[in-house]
């Protein structure tokens, strides 16, 4: 039983990180109906910017965070302005593929900057472990998990209680209607992309805190996509729930099934879960089932 508990907790911690990645994607999808593959790179570049200011320029952590977030917002703005806006009204798959092209473009630069090495800001952020019920839990992951919960709460408040949040939700439902009620849909798109790259940067920093900045970091984007789908592409609570679920499932299944099938269950668990969820609940766990009145 203790073993199960340990797997559960580790899974929850890992899942919190997945959820954060997914939230950034859900934000974009909700409003613009574009599924973005580029978010993995936004994480990578966000973490890289944070690392650059913190470790290379040796600035205080707050400055680094603020600068990294500004950088992320600028990237988000640019992507929306130059890649997404010209595609408004065009097939959605063209937009999807453009985000993929953006991913490739940024991937080349990312690798160019890293040159095969890894970058870490280990010395600045909490390391070590806290003993909970006799089991050592990683503080890096705890800190990242806490940050993702905070971020999530912040987003919920933002959408529920602010005017821009309301505008974003309205835009998400019906672009034309939103426009005819006086919402500037184009600037909402711009804000959404900026918000989502900022969230992706948070996720990138949290991830890099756990496993350093390495070429694999942007590929976490695929995990995020799966989590977003399991939770429902347009549901923020769904992203959180699915992230946690996936994290737990991966660790528990690896814990119990690996010895039976000879290893490697962790990498396939996510996809099996996704298939099952899509077959049982096609719009994801908490995704909006389109309200259709007859």
């Amino acid at each position: 039983m203790t073993e199960f508990l340990q797997l559960l907790v580790i899974g929850l911690l890992e899942g919190g990180l997945y959820a954060m990645v997914a939230v950034a994607m859900v934000l974009v999808y909700k409003s613009t109906h574009v599924v973005s593959l580029a978010h993995g790179q936004f994480m990578g570049f966000g973490a890289l910017a944070f690392w650059f200011v913190l470790v290379q320029l040796k600035m205080p952590i707050v400055v680094a965070l603020v600068l990294a977030l500004c950088f992320a917002a600028a990237v988000g703005w640019a992507v929306e302005r130059f890649a997404m806006r010209p595609l408004i009204g065009q097939p959605l798959f063209a937009a999807f593929l453009t985000t993929f092209a953006t991913f490739l473009m940024m991937d080349g630069l990312f690798q160019l900057i890293l040159k095969g090495e890894s970058a870490s800001f280990a010395a600045y952020l909490p390391l070590g472990s806290i003993s909970v019920a006799g089991k050592p839990l990683p503080t890096t992951q705890l800190a990242s998990f806490g940050a993702s919960l905070l971020l999530f709460a912040g987003l919920a408040v933002f959408f529920r209680f602010t005017k821009v949040g309301l505008g974003m939700r309205a835009t998400a439902e019906d672009h034309q209607l939103a426009q005819s009620t006086g919402i500037t849909v184009r600037s909402i798109f711009s804000y959404i992309w900026m918000l989502s790259t900022v969230v992706a940067t948070f996720a990138g920093i949290a991830l890099a805190n756990v496993s350093d900045i390495y070429f694999t970091l942007p590929y976490m984007g695929i995990k995020g996509l799966i989590v977003a789908l399991v939770g429902g592409l347009d549901s923020l609570p769904g992203a959180l729930l699915a992230g946690l679920l996936l994290g737990v499932l991966e660790n528990v299944s690896a814990g119990y099934l690996d010895p039976i099938v000879g290893g490697g269950v962790k990498e396939v668990a996510a996809y099996v879960l996704l298939l099952l969820v899509l077959l049982i609940r096609p719009y994801g766990l908490l995704g909006l089932v389109r309200i259709e009145r007859i």
Binding site: G89, K163, L166, G167, R169, A170, E173, D174, H175, Q176, L177, A178, Q179, S180, T181, G182, I183, T184, V185, L288, I291, R293
Partner: protein
């Protein structure tokens, strides 16, 4: 005063929908726009509110002017800011938002928090039913409630001119009466000019002061509502009465229409 001068609208560069439409909506008045399906009424409204451009349509000739300033090249959100609000056909709501959130979206471009609060109370005053439903997800409302909500939402923008597209469609006679009572009240109390597009000519002409009749992308007839109500053709086609005052069969109407008395 809103003025449409000889506006011509083309969709996707090829389909000519409005072939030179002129009309005007004086401040604080109710103006009715009548016509059969596909006559171009909704397109006229879209040309005014600017929504046209999101549907690959374009005003290619003529102009739409508000107080003498052309507005047909503006984005829809700018036009809303000028005080022209369209209540779109089909009662489109933000279905996953609650009733109150829908109303607040209507006031999105306003900056005065206190005024928004007052207007919210006022809207609930016009539509007491909405006040009971304020926390309800709007997608589950009934047709009449939806109509109230879309009108309430546009009221929240504190408009000068409201473009009302087929408010009576598919509603029971009692509800229609109620809706038009509120339309009247809005016009009287808020001094909002209303451009009303309707199939139900009887009611439209009874509350409006001026009427336009459209056919095939053109205005074919206009005049004060009382005069239109007395017009033989209006009676014939829109009120469904023949010159002898009895109901006519559809076949006769078509036959009669082939003479194209109105074609300009």
């Amino acid at each position: 005063m809103l003025q449409i001068n000889n506006a011509e609208v083309i969709y996707s560069d090829v389909i000519l929908v409005l072939k030179g439409v002129s009309a005007q909506v004086p401040d604080g008045r109710i103006v009715a726009l009548l016509g059969a399906n596909g006559a171009g009424k909704t397109t006229t409204l879209k040309a005014i509110s600017g929504v046209l451009r999101t549907e690959l349509g374009e005003v290619t000739d003529g102009s739409v002017e508000l107080d003498g300033k052309p507005i047909h090249r503006m984005d829809p959100e700018e036009i809303v800011r000028l005080g022209i609000v369209q209540v779109m056909e089909g009662r489109r709501l933000f279905e996953h938002l609650t009733v109150e959130e829908n109303l607040l979206v209507g006031a999105y471009m306003r900056k005065d928090a206190a005024g928004i609060g007052q207007d919210l109370a006022k809207t609930y005053g016009y539509f007491p039913r909405l006040s009971d439903l304020r926390r309800r997800t709007s997608g589950y409302l009934s047709g009449g409630e939806r109509q109230m909500l879309v009108m309430g939402r546009s009221l929240m923008a504190r408009p000068r001119i409201m473009l009302l597209d087929e408010p009576s469609m598919g509603l029971s006679p009692l509800l229609v009466k109620e809706i038009f009572r509120v339309v009247r009240a809005i016009n009287d109390e808020e001094n909002v000019a209303i451009l009303l597009v309707e199939q139900n000519a009887r009611i439209a002409l009874s509350i409006s002061e001026h009427g336009y009749v459209m056919e095939n992308g053109r205005i074919v007839l206009d005049g004060p509502s009382e005069r239109l109500r007395e017009n033989e053709d209006i009676k014939e086609f829109y009120l469904g009465l023949s010159d002898k005052g009895r109901r006519k069969s559809y076949r006769e109407v078509k036959h009669y229409k082939r003479r194209k008395r109105w074609l300009a």
